[in-house]
């Protein structure tokens, strides 16, 4: 048993747990977007940040991957944590205005409006990568991938070619935190294109 503190509360954790697991076991809520028990963590969304340390030294880490340690002191709602969360949510609000889940999450943390302009009113995807990971790690077919890199990154089928590897299990739609996957699955599987062209062409 490991003894540590979260938000001033003495809590216990087991060796090998993450801070997020420990918080959840103890009924302390930390928001997450790219984390899912079924797949390996990736640390992409950064919404689950917490502050560790004390007055003399502290740093921001992601709770979904940070391993627990004896005596760890964790704050889930410090000013630095709130600032990271606020800006992530404010940016997501501008990025995926079409996602009711993101709007609800932002509202939960007090972010109702965004100062940023939206470039695509229909966008819902936050590029958390959960769909890609579940398809690869759980389903084992890798029918979905990220295409492009950096600010041009998108979710699609590998190399942008319609994927016939998809087994229509729907796992990606289930794990998707925003509803974006249900809107794009057909394009990835080539249902429309496939029907019109008679076979799975592009």
């Amino acid at each position: 048993m490991i003894n540590m503190v979260i938000d001033g509360r003495q809590v216990q954790a087991q060796t090998g747990w993450t801070v997020l697991e420990t918080a959840r076991q103890n009924g302390i809520h930390i928001p997450t977007l790219c984390h899912h028990e079924a797949v390996e963590p990736s640390g992409a969304c950064r919404l689950c940040v917490v502050e560790i340390g004390d007055e003399t030294w502290s740093k921001i880490v992601i709770s979904c991957m940070y391993p627990v340690a004896e005596g760890l002191n964790v704050k889930t709602d410090s000013p630095r944590v709130k600032n990271v969360r606020r800006w992530i949510l404010e940016m997501l609000l501008a990025q995926c205005p079409a996602s009711p889940e993101i709007r609800a999450l932002a509202a939960e943390y007090g972010v109702q409006t965004t100062r940023f302009v939206n470039h695509d009113p229909n966008e819902q995807c936050i590029l958390c990568g959960l769909c890609v990971r579940v398809c690869k790690e759980v389903v084992g077919v890798s029918a979905i991938s990220t295409i492009g890199r950096g600010v041009h990154k998108k979710i699609g089928s590998p190399y942008g070619v319609v994927s016939d590897a998809c087994v229509a299990c729907g796992s990606c739609v289930t794990v998707c935190p925003t509803g974006a996957m249900s809107a794009r699955l057909d394009a990835i599987r080539g249902v429309h294109a496939g029907r019109e062209a008679g076979k799975g062409g592009k």
Binding site: S42, G43, A44, G129, R149
Partner: protein, 627 residues
């Protein structure tokens, strides 16, 4: 220069003891005459681009049977004066040499006559000729430790390298020092990583030793030669000009850590570096300095080169490892240090090219010697690439702690035209921008960090009054935005959003609240980003805001760009008192926006003007103003 040819050296076969190595070295030294004249032609990238191959060919053709050697070397650092030719041992320094100068150079060398006056360096202030390399301020203010052999040795000749001290440290370490002693010596030297973060190298190696013991696996040693900062060419110069120094450092590290396999991750755009490293490895293997049973000591180690994947982020340690492992180079969150779990989950020591290249001399001369150079917490020297608005663009090596002004003014010769510099960006695209007021800051890891900037890998960009800080901050942000791997939200979305706010400023759109938002968003990115690319990306914005807030306010409050750069906020006009009516500007203007009669003052039509500034550059009378 070794008079024993490479072929003869290679025939020595694999050396099986330190004595055999020392004997070979003695043979090389005995066969070479220190007074024999060498004409050295720089074949660094800059001089090559300016035609140094033709210069070397012309010299070679003209030399015929004369009793001297023509030798080509790596970059001498003073690239803005290339092609460079240096005569040794006399030390005569010739700049901007053309193939047609070959005869005159040879004649002066062979007949012991006067140096070729037109090719000499002249002090820009006194116009006095400085014939000797050692008297030129660009060189006299340097302390060349890492670069000591570059410009002297032929990097493709292991004999020349050995004659200049190469592999002495290896022979010493293998037979006179235990691996722990090598680690202790590096720790004593105080050497800190030259790749950016400045982590103490000895401490890194020591924790790797502990991890190896705990896990029971051998470690990997890795060279980070991915150098991606725009304008930086420190590591390229070292790999091209003295590849054996990097290799010897790596072998020493491998011995210290008990590693049997090493990797050199080299930027793909550096074909000459890759070629020279490959030649160096081949030559070292042939002599038994690399491979199995090195110098008969029983220690086995080999290296392979991996070409970089072409992305800036691949220089980041976790991305570099995934790239070597054959996957897309994306950073991974790490709460376990790479000395414990690096390449393929094994203990791994990753160091920068310059870090490795320092190691042989630390082992040869002792950690104490090295710790005596520089300043207490930043020991030794550092190589900087000096670019931007500075007279002597080039590569310099100075002791840590040298004041910023000394680097820019004494070595760099200051800003062209003599005005004081406005700012210096240190630390590359994610470093900070220090103003003229801070010119006395000692350039060492901790002082730069305290000033809000950083050492980074050693890029220095000098700016003058015609550089706008808002524009500069936008430029770096745009670079990093393009280089973001896109994995984490703060960096992928945040850098674009910061840049959009700055775009607004450059058009005069914005408020003080926008500045506050920019600072707050920057803090969120620094705290929230997954890797140091995003984590340090806000630095140029934050330091320019810290030191040049007035200039930001001028943009958003007065709708004015004081440096005359931001196109939406400036206008060009012609001073009727200075204009002679020569019509040059009117002819050059791509918009035909300038009208006027011959010999009468001209006027710019602001409606048509696109503010390209061509008129200003073309006017010989300084009659065009920007405001």
């Amino acid at each position: 220069m070794a008079q024993i040819t490479n072929r003869e050296i290679q025939q020595a076969g694999r050396l099986d003891s330190a004595e055999a190595f020392m004997a070979l070295r003695e043979r090389i030294l005995a066969a070479s005459d220190p007074n024999r004249t060498e004409i050295i032609v720089c074949h660094g990238t800059g001089c090559l681009a300016n035609g140094s191959v033709k210069v070397a060919e012309a010299l070679q053709a003209a030399v015929k049977a004369a009793d001297l050697d023509i030798k080509v070397t790596g970059c001498h650092g003073f690239c803005s004066r290339g092609p460079l030719v240096v005569v040794r041992p006399s030390g005569l320094f010739y700049q901007r040499v053309k193939p047609a100068d070959a005869e005159d150079i040879l004649q002066s060398v062979l007949e012991g006559g006067q140096p070729v006056e037109r090719l000499l360096y002249h002090d820009p202030n006194t116009d006095q000729a400085l014939p000797q390399e050692k008297d030129i301020p660009f060189y006299s203010h340097q302390m060349r430790i890492v670069l000591r052999n570059i410009g002297k040795i032929d990097p493709t000749d292991i004999g020349d390298t050995i004659a200049h001290g190469g592999y002495l440290a290896l022979a010493k370490a293998l037979y006179q020092m235990s691996p722990e002693q090598v680690v202790a010596e590096v720790e004593r030297s105080g050497l800190r990583g030259r790749g950016g973060a400045g982590f103490p190298t000895g401490r890194k190696w020591k924790s790797a030793l502990a991890a190896i013991k705990k896990k029971g696996y051998p470690a990997y040693v890795v060279v980070n030669g991915d150098e991606g900062d725009p304008g930086a060419f420190m590591d390229r110069t070292i790999m091209e000009g003295d590849p054996h120094a990097v290799l010897e450092g790596l072998i020493l590290g491998a011995y210290a850590l008990g590693a049997h396999q090493g990797f050199m991750y080299v930027r793909a755009e550096y074909p000459v570096a890759i070629k020279h490293l490959n030649i160096a490895m081949e030559q070292a293997r042939a002599l038994g300095l690399l491979g199995q049973n090195i110098l008969g000591s029983g220690f086995d180690f080999d290296v392979q080169i991996n070409r970089g994947a072409g992305a800036f982020v691949c220089g980041e340690s976790t991305a570099l490892f995934t790239s070597i492992e054959g996957r897309a180079g994306e950073p991974k969150p790490k709460y376990v240090r790479s000395v414990e779990e690096g390449l393929w989950g094994r203990p791994t020591v990753l160091n920068n090219v310059e870090t490795w290249a320092n190691v042989p001399q630390i082992i040869e001369k002792g950690g104490e010697w090295y710790a005596g150079l520089g300043v207490p917490h930043s020991t030794g020297t550092k190589v900087f690439s000096l670019v931007g608005k500075v007279n002597n663009v080039g590569l310099v090596e100075v002791p840590m702690g040298t004041p910023l002004a000394s680097i820019v003014e004494d070595l760099g010769g200051g800003v062209p035209g003599g005005a004081p510099f406005k700012a210096v960006q240190t630390g590359g695209p994610s470093g900070g921008c220090l103003p003229y007021d801070m010119r006395e800051v000692p350039v060492d890891f901790d002082s730069l960090t305290r000033a809000g900037s950083m050492m980074g890998s050693g890029g220095m960009i000098v700016m003058d009054k015609r550089d706008c800080v808002v524009d500069v901050a936008r430029y770096f942000l745009r670079f990093l935005e393009e280089e973001s791997c896109g994995k984490c939200i703060p960096c992928r979305l945040g850098l674009t959003r910061m840049r959009e706010i700055l775009d607004g400023f450059s058009q005069g759109i914005g408020s003080e609240k926008d500045i506050d938002d920019l600072v707050s968003l920057a803090a969120a990115i620094q705290d929230g980003a997954l890797c140091a690319l995003g984590g340090s990306a806000p630095n140029p914005v934050l330091t320019t805001l810290q030191y040049f807030k007035d200039e930001y306010l001028a943009h958003i409050k007065d709708k004015r760009c004081p440096a005359g750069v931001c196109k939406d906020l400036i206008s060009y006009s012609i001073d009727p008192d200075k204009c002679t009516g020569c019509m040059t500007c009117a002819r050059q203007c791509p918009q035909k926006a300038i009208a006027g009669e011959k010999k009468k003052p001209h006027v710019i039509n602001q409606e048509l003007c696109i503010r390209c500034g061509i008129c200003m550059e073309s006017c010989k009378f300084g009659a065009v103003n920007v405001a």
